[in-house]
Amino acid sequence: MAPVNDMDMLAHRPAAAQPAAAASVRQRIEVRDITKVFPLHGEDLVAVEKVSFSIREGEFVALLGPSGCGKSTILNMIAGLITITGGAAYLDGRSVAYGKVDPQVGYVFQRDTVFPWRTVRRNIGYGLELSRLAKAEREARVLEVIRQAGLKGFEDAYPLALSGGMRQRVALMRTLIMQPQILLMDEPFGALDTHTKLEMHKFLLEIWEHERQTVLFVTHDLSEALTLSDRIILLSARPGRLKEDFEVPFPRPRDAIRLRESREYSELFAKVWHSLGDEFAKTKAE
């Protein structure tokens, strides 16, 4: 594990400079004027309206906004799970087609999607099993991942016997073992209690800071976004429009707990909160 970094040093260090957005930097995810309209009881419900952003190789971006503002909808359009009403989404410059699943994309769902009929071992090994990887190698990799996820002793347990946090770790590892270069996550820790959530943040940071996948992480939880991401894309209340784009310059490796005690964190929290608060108010006013 990476050494725990000293937050006190933060005060004396300028915010880590972001690499210049030069033309040579690969844009792994891009959406341009993306719009989604749902037909609802004969009327059109505009869920997302003309949202544009792009995400660089190795960047961890949080998509933040109040519930119902269209975060999942945007993610699902990028993933090809639903049709795009207007605009376009690109993965590595290639336009996303509905119904086509990109093999280099990993998707972690908001809902618990661990397969209840498979043991922990066979859930995590699912993708490798499909890819016909030799059994010995598969078993070895699965066991390594199980150890990493702190699930030792539960290899042959069925998901119904696990806690929510453990199940979400299985879901995460089941995706990560396939080594996707692009990770789409839809409030993966939304259903967990605060303590378990923090544990999961530590766990995810540890993995990500080592692997550096390109991540688009959907959440309505500001502290989660600040803890994990390099950048926060803030959406307005429905219809979801791009509201603001915040850099999150905290150095890495990060310590999920100690980060929250730093002054920089509180300042940025207040700044984003101010902007986010307006949107929450709008949701309530409806």
Binding site: A79, L81, V101, V105, G106, F109, T113, F115, Y158, A171
Partner: protein, 289 residues
């Protein structure tokens, strides 16, 4: 005495009481006629001792004089295959037809159920036909089935199949339609192609539903075969029962009924055991594990 032992003692006691009433109840009529209903007449229900004797004879364990046949070289086998057949050949015929009716009915029920469960279009097209055919009392079809397939085994298998198919079909259909979309999407992101999604997601998710239909399906298969044998057949336990009715041999009938009861119980327990093993992941199965 623990609660479990107590229950078992009561069960066994009840069995003894019932058998005693059955065996000697009618004799009480000489002394206290008003308390003994006419239905206890051995003419209607025979007697345990008589049934036991007939069981030994029909099963080729003993001859009519009460000599034990098992000990005499070759006589047992000769009796089993003699004349119009013994209890063994009849039982075997019923079992064989039940097995095939069950197997083909379950197979086609699962196949068609999964197909229609996955295709909204096909489901819509076939719905009226399925509903109409299923509303027809299957027993009413048996004479037609016998005309079409003859008095042999095939007509019994077809009768069982028409009953089994629908139970399994409806359950598989519901189970397939109820598959979690997110499970399918998760599988696709992990690299599953259409075929793999079917095998690794649809089949295991629908399995619980399919299994729920297998216990009634076993009983239906047996019902189908027996009814087929009633209406026209060369052998089988249903045939034994119908013949016993014609000749007023209630003891023979009771023997066939008890064999059927044992077959029914064994088959249902067998299905439950398979179910318990394959659905281990479900909580209530996991607990009894």
């Amino acid at each position: 005495m623990s609660k479990g032992t107590f229950i078992n003692v009561c069960r066994f006691g009840l069995l003894l009481v019932l058998l005693a009433i059955w065996e000697w109840g009618w004799d009480l009529r000489k002394h206290v006629s008003w308390i003994v209903p006419t239905l206890l007449d051995p003419y209607f229900i025979s007697k345990p001792s008589l049934i036991w004797t007939r069981f030994l004879e029909m099963g080729c364990f003993a001859n009519t004089r009460g000599d034990w046949l098992i000990n005499i070289d070759g006589t047992f086998m000769k009796c089993v295959y003699a004349g119009k057949g013994s209890l063994w050949t009849h039982t075997l015929a019923t079992l064989k037809n039940t097995f095939w009716g069950f197997l083909v009915g379950v197979g086609s029920g699962i196949g068609v159920g999964m197909l229609l469960g996955r295709s909204e279009m096909l489901a819509k097209i076939f719905e009226p036909y399925i509903v109409a055919f299923n509303s027809l009392p299957r027993v009413a079809l048996v004479p037609l089935i016998i005309i079409m397939f003859g008095l042999g085994d095939v007509s019994k298998i077809v009768t069982a199949l028409t009953l089994v198919f629908f139970v399994v079909f409806f359950n598989t259909f519901e189970g397939t339609r109820g598959v979690d979309r997110d499970h399918i999407n998760a599988a696709r992101f992990l690299g599953a192609n259409a075929w793999q999604v079917t095998w690794t997601i649809y089949v295991p998710s629908a399995l619980a539903w399919v299994f729920a239909s297998l216990t009634p399906a076993v009983s239906f298969a047996l019902i189908g075969v027996i009814v087929g044998e009633f209406i026209g057949s060369e052998r089988g336990l249903g045939k034994v029962i119908i013949e016993a009715e014609a000749t007023l041999q209630t003891a023979d009938m009771m023997v066939a009924l008890f064999v059927l009861m044992v077959i029914g119980v064994v088959l249902v327990l067998g299905v439950r055991e398979v179910q318990r093993r394959l659905l281990r992941w479900q909580r209530h199965h996991a607990e009894t594990f």
